[in-house]
Symmetry: C2
Subunit: 437 residues, 2 copies
Amino acid sequence: MSGRLVVLGGGAAGMSAASAARRVDPALEIVVLETSGYAAAGLCGLPYHLAGLVARPDDLLAYPPAYFRDHRGLDLRLHAEAVGLDVERRIVRYRGVDGAAELGFSSLIVAAGGFPAAVPLPGVGDRPCFTVRTLEDTVALRALVETGGVSRALVVGAGYIGLETAEALHARGVRVTVAERVDRVLPTTVDRPVAGIVEEHVRAHVELCLGTDAGMLLAERAPDVVVVCAGVRPSAGLAVAAGARTGPGGALLTDDRMRTNLPGVWAAGDCIAPHHRVLGAPAFVPLGPTANKTGRVAGTVAAGGDARFAGVIGTAVVKVFDLEVARTGLTLTEARDAGLAARATDVVSRSRAKYYPGVAPVHVRLVHEAGGRLLGAQLVGTEGAAKRVDVVAAALHAGLSVDDLADLDLSYAPPYAPVYDPVLLAAQAAQRDRVPA
Amino acid sequence: MSGRLVVLGGGAAGMSAASAARRVDPALEIVVLETSGYAAAGLCGLPYHLAGLVARPDDLLAYPPAYFRDHRGLDLRLHAEAVGLDVERRIVRYRGVDGAAELGFSSLIVAAGGFPAAVPLPGVGDRPCFTVRTLEDTVALRALVETGGVSRALVVGAGYIGLETAEALHARGVRVTVAERVDRVLPTTVDRPVAGIVEEHVRAHVELCLGTDAGMLLAERAPDVVVVCAGVRPSAGLAVAAGARTGPGGALLTDDRMRTNLPGVWAAGDCIAPHHRVLGAPAFVPLGPTANKTGRVAGTVAAGGDARFAGVIGTAVVKVFDLEVARTGLTLTEARDAGLAARATDVVSRSRAKYYPGVAPVHVRLVHEAGGRLLGAQLVGTEGAAKRVDVVAAALHAGLSVDDLADLDLSYAPPYAPVYDPVLLAAQAAQRDRVPA
């Protein structure tokens, strides 16, 4: 078909979309407008750059900009911020390095990502204030830390980015206080009993103030720097102003080919609310793998190919100091909020055979429903939790029941699992703990 | 119903069966006859006892014998070897510590396990010769090693027990030669290209002689000890003599409730060939998890309860020095032997994000069929391979296709996976490499 495809956003979703579109149509003109000075930056790696585990900002790029330009024939424009969208006339207005400009398109992919939620911080004064959402911001924070001028930091928010950031600053020798408005960590990630295990672990390393207004701590703790990690909001403004429909969290709604309700406009990545297979409804869960996959589908379809996005299951994992915290499907809270007669079953199993050196506890929570329907899982442990959750993710994708889960033929050798894998033990416990149908 | 249940074999299957029967029927008399001096010994842990990683033989027991007797009300008779079976009269003859005896039964579970395959070793002379199949044998071998009298060992067989044993002896400072009759390691576990990766790794630690007759090496290497790890055969003799039907490898055939064709006789564990879900036929794959599960089903049903065994998928994992080697479903060889138009797709991915410290290669081989049917997987790596195979095991259990596998929502964080998990990358490669339908 050819013409011009414009992609708003050069992150994981935008660059996946542009690359997929190029594979479908070698003749298509493809322009990517990216606000920051980096494209295809792995945002999930930002805390590890801050910690010093990843030496250079460029290490976080999937490919350098020149690769996209020279090898994929993409017109990648950095420092180019879209500021207006006229869907009827198919025109994008943006501010680039050479000033304001207009760009016509035959098709458009909105992959503008997310932006950090703001937190009112009266009294923050002229203290340096950062987020860990862009590479630029993280590079600046790291530079400040490396000057030695940061001995005390306040991290606002105990979601997964807040906890990763606390760990990174702690690794740099900074005294860290984490302030979370609600009375638990990882409030949107795991249920309260699982959060309790994480809290105990966090407190062994940094100060954790739950149910606390961050502003109140500013005077008391006198931090040299404030890092706001209070969640992400979808960058959907331009599309919404042009008439795009939104769902949970104000994120854009699409069909399974990533089409918005606007003609010629697709959307992908952190600015959308894709279909959640367990919930049976759209959900806003901005994560890297979904950005990559939905970007690829949007680019393929926008360029005239065919692809579909199967939806998300709600899988996520985070490293919190030495703890692996993983989840998939629905938490008990999410299930009950969705009106399901759900129950949670908790077991403490082991990462290895009980006699094998290095064996550690693995906590498994299964969430299930009347009739034995499997709804979700949460796993926590110093080893053996992170990727073990994927077994349940696969089971949820396939619609397996708790009984099916207990029947799985999972790998066993003493260094890697007990003879009944923790997932199997949890499924057996859930069978005994069945919700009356 | 009550009466007397006799269980032949006090291993994982037999003790699982006896314990399950007790839960169903508190009044049932349950007698377990075990040939060795140990019950519920974790045979998979034997190489780690030999290596010195597991201090005491008793550490390998699920529970001590007194626990089964006192807390589960089981009449557990050690050093009791069944020698005759009269199914019509429902009588077992055995040799116990007090001599020969008879025992009537209302129901019988054959859980006699397996025995090591013999290898003709002309010229072995009076060299000490061991297997790593019973706790007694392993304890004796360890004692010999600890006397310091073993400087050179010949391990016969490069299956997973052979390689685990080689590693254990190497850890004890013994110079080890592994002799394998066929021209590759792990001949029944993985395909040749995957075996090649393992071979290179093994050769970095011990001498490996493939396509070699072990007898030939006896004179050349002059080992102080020979350890035969040439596979396992089902201990099905008594049941076969009584008319039990057998399948692959001479193992007993049962239905999904573990019933044999003999009235009142069930079977479980390493002496049976259970249903293989991917093969759609019985298969002899004697492994710990299957022994535990089939034992539980046999005991439950024999005691009057209801349970079914869902079948095996062919999942297994082995640690070979620092390498994790995992498989599930069918290898390409197995698939082709079964007459399937199969193809294998290999990818080399990573255990973590490319920029995260400690990242290591993960080799994934997917076996698939015309039309995108998923048949199996093999994974190898120094980390991230062992339990990752379980995702594919779950997918195979659910009958997911290669396309479905590529759609899974798997966990991502830089310390644990690339943004496209190795399993997803392999599925994408298999999609491109599809067998024409």
